[in-house]
Symmetry: C2
Subunit: 153 residues, 2 copies
DNA sequence: CCGCACTGATTGAACGCTCAACTAAACCGC
DNA sequence: GCGGTTTAGTTGAGCGTTCAATCAGTGCGG
């Protein structure tokens, strides 16, 4: 209020639009590939990945939500779907009676193992193959800076 | 098939996850702010922006879909909502009887004008304020390279 | 140890997006 | 100018996400 808007100059404008176009195209492409080849959206793939990396392939719902950058509600809905697909199962948390543990089933692990090669290949083709090693490094620094900036505020 | 998967090395893995986290956090934040302050999702904001920049504030549906990087179907659904809100109106195309023109109404322009300062401020705060001028330049080059790579394939 | 705020998780409604199917009009070759 | 293909745009069903409301269980102050 009262303070002048700091509009984007032409360079910033160009950067912002390029970023929007590129990140949307990248995500849309990967999402579509994953849906076509493995019948799961990218968000579900990420859930399975995080579970597969966790001790005993299990995580508290809250921790899983945090790890995948999603809301609790979103994760609850997703977990319901994943459970219906037989890819995860839910268990009561032994130390907190409010808590639930999401557990990756063998079927779920197999689905992930089947999906991973194609998806990783997609990430490589659509992202890394297009960039020089220096650009990959720049992208990492930029992304880490942004992630800190966004979650720290 | 038969070809070994080119898995991501640790550096690439870290880059990819940081990118996922950052771009998701950025988009989610901006989307939520826009929804809260201007009662529109980011995709609709972009449609209004493109229309506001077009001659006579009107564009063919196809061109608008292309400009906003969305499918025709998505744009049709969005246009129906925007028309119901009174922000755009649809006219028949004079040169192609299959065509439709989306036209930004005065009400729509006013809604955009009201939303823009807050949104631009958000883009600046959440993105540009966090990066050095060199990083902004790097991000522009990376994004333009990626956009070319993705739409050119 | 009681009351109250907070945390963990789920639910249902509303909404936006995707995909496939469809209509209508334009274009193209002959 | 006729038939087949392509292009423009819409539609409806199904799915995933958001938001607000809700419920159960925990933890803290007094």
């Amino acid at each position: 209020m009262g303070v002048m808007t700091r509009w984007l100059n032409p360079d910033e404008q160009r950067t912002w639009r390029a970023f929007l176009t590129a990140s949307r195209a990248l995500m849309d492409t990967l999402d579509r590939e994953l849906q076509r080849d493995a019948d799961m959206p990218h968000a579900y793939y990420e859930i399975l990945v995080r579970l597969s990396e966790a001790p005993d392939r299990r995580l508290r719902m809250s921790d899983l939500a945090e790890a995948t950058g999603s809301s609790r509600s979103r994760l609850s809905h997703a977990a319901a779907r994943l459970e219906a697909a037989g890819w995860i199962r839910r268990e009561d948390c032994p130390t907190d009676r409010r808590g639930q543990l999401a557990v990756l089933t063998d079927t779920g692990f197999a689905a992930l193992a089947a999906a991973a090669p194609g998806h990783v290949e997609g990430v490589r083709r659509h992202l890394f193959d297009a960039l020089s090693p220096a650009q990959v490094d720049q992208l990492r620094r930029i992304s880490e800076t942004l992630a800190d900036h966004l979650t720290g505020s």
